[in-house]
């Protein structure tokens, strides 16, 4: 059967037969790097177009439809525009920090790609603390935003960065706690284990109330962590013009822009892996005919389907809700999400011990 894992194995076999093991490893690493960068570019193009289409349809508009068939080349044109634009560095800016910040944002996004299982047996690095690695690395994201905001020498940027710092640090707590629910139920931090544990049903189906609550909290928390509306206080264009990237232009701005979308993709991929079974096809009890039909759909399609569903959810939020105020944002986290998710974790633990889930 056609699958990504099959192709990967073929390449691995061929490389092993052609080169010695050291060269094989090096070439495979280079290939993986190229693949990640390629995926980045592709995701950036697709997600920007998707966002614009979703926004347009919600706003009773048509959306991009001029460049290419059905406007599919619109994001290519946007990229071209951003590449040829001049990347200004303001006079009073801290030039080193200012120029490094967007790259840090990108590097963090790249690092997060490592433990994600894109299809059955198709994963860059199945390390045994995969989920912990993701939560740990994603907190570095805030550093790039703080750097960008501080080094711009612009009060709007600084305020945006400070808001973003407070926001990401707080929301990481409830994101972590909601992930903990699944870890408690699975008993493993390894991504492949978590997916395997869902072979007889996704956690969202067999986890009852605690998993539903933690799923909702997870979605809210990651929306905040990726600075997406209604939690886009770091940008807040009606208050802070463009927040931390007010002074950025051209390709450096594009990197921030891209990093935002990649982060959305990654958190949604994590969400899909933890709650919706990753690449696991949808199975219903003992309905074998249905289950077999589902198995025929390639695992990568399942994974991307679930991820894009979650991405759509986040975009849907963005185009529906007004923005919160900074104190309300922190109130929501500390007074509502955190207590609920702590209580929820307790519930999930009890459930796991008593074996109340399916």
């Amino acid at each position: 059967m056609w699958s990504l894992a099959h192709i990967a194995n073929e390449i691995h076999q061929w490389l092993n037969n052609t080169f010695n093991p050291t060269w094989t490893l090096i070439i495979e690493m280079v290939l993986a790097g190229v693949a990640v960068i390629g995926l980045f570019a592709a995701l950036g193009l697709v997600l920007v177009l998707m966002e614009r289409r979703v926004a347009a349809w919600i706003q009773i508009r048509l959306g991009p439809n001029r460049v290419g068939p059905l406007g599919l080349l619109q994001s290519m044109a946007d990229t071209l525009k951003l590449i040829v634009k001049e990347g200004l560095t303001p006079d009073g800016a801290d030039k080193v920090m200012f120029n490094i910040a967007p790259f840090i944002a990108m590097i963090v996004a790249m690092l997060l790609m490592a433990p994600i299982a894109f299809a059955k047996d198709f994963q860059l690095w199945d390390l045994n603390i995969g989920v912990l690695y993701v939560t740990a690395v994603s907190s570095i994201m805030v550093i790039s935003i703080l750097m960008a905001g501080w080094s711009s020498n612009n009060k709007y940027s600084l305020m945006g960065a400070m808001r973003s710092g407070a926001q990401i640090v707080s929301y990481e707590l409830s994101a972590g706690l909601s992930i903990m629910t699944i870890i408690v139920l699975t008993g493993s931090l390894q991504v492949s284990d978590i997916i395997q544990a869902q072979s007889n049903g996704w956690w969202i189906f067999k986890g009852h109330l605690p998993v539903w609550i933690s799923f909702i909290i997870f979605i809210i928390a990651v929306t905040a962590e990726t600075n997406r509306a209604p939690f886009d206080l770091a940008e807040a264009e009606s208050e802070l013009t463009a927040g931390f990237h007010t002074e950025y232009s051209g390709m450096k701005f594009a990197l921030f822009f891209l990093a935002e979308y990649i982060n959305v993709f990654i958190v949604c991929a994590i969400g899909a892996t933890l709650f919706l079974g990753g690449w696991m096809p949808l199975h219903f009890g003992s309905n074998n005919a249905f289950n077999n039909a589902m198995d025929y759909i390639p695992s990568s399609v399942w994974f991307f389907g679930k991820t894009f569903f979650l991405i759509f959810l986040i975009m849907w939020f963005r185009w529906t809700f007004p923005r919160l105020r900074i104190d309300q944002l922190l109130n929501l986290e500390w007074k509502y999400l955190l207590p609920i998710s702590m209580f929820n974790l307790l519930l999930a633990t009890a459930m796991a011990i008593l074996g109340w889930h399916f």
């Binding site: 349809w57 706003q59 508009r61 849907w316 185009w319 529906t320 509502y336």
Partner: protein
């Protein structure tokens, strides 16, 4: 009680958010509600309202005759100095001198489409056209002369 209030708060909040999301999902899935007009693709079918004030024009008939007597009522009515009437004296067949317009200069760049000149005109010589695509690359192109070259006043208009 505190806890029930707390839970009521949370569920009420989620419900209000769900209401909004339901509304946006409706528009996301119902594309017939889309109201975009695809200008300039729809130029052929685009109909402007017949009273739309686009620019001042002076209609001429097939004999290249207009109705303007050069009375400068429009020039006086204009609040911005948009219209300048340049007059000359024609010699009528009877040998009398008669005032007529040489040029009716219209500065589209100054015009605010207030319609006062059209109202002021006693002989209905000027009217508002429904054109609206006025952009040009050179400002001087916006200064227009309303009467056609070689045109003269219609018979019987005083």
């Amino acid at each position: 009680m505190f806890l029930t209030d707390y839970i009521k708060d949370v569920t009420g909040a989620l419900k209000s958010l769900a209401t909004g999301m339901k509304r946006t999902l409706y528009y996301f899935t119902h594309h017939k509600e889309i109201i975009t007009e695809q200008y300039p693709d729809n130029r052929a079918t685009l109909v402007m309202a017949d009273r739309f004030k686009g620019e001042v024009v002076m209609p001429h008939d097939e004999k290249n005759e207009h109705r303007c007597t050069g009375c400068t009522a429009c020039e006086l009515a204009c609040p911005n100095g948009t219209i300048k009437v340049v007059t000359k004296f024609d010699i009528t067949p009877e040998g009398k001198k008669k005032k007529a317009i040489d040029k009716l200069v219209y500065h589209l760049e100054l015009c605010t489409m207030c319609n006062l000149c059209v109202q002021a005109c006693p002989s209905d010589a000027i009217k508002m056209a429904q054109t609206f695509e006025h952009s040009v690359f050179d400002r001087s192109k916006l200064t227009k002369i309303l009467n056609n070259p070689g045109s003269k006043i219609m018979e019987g208009v005083e």
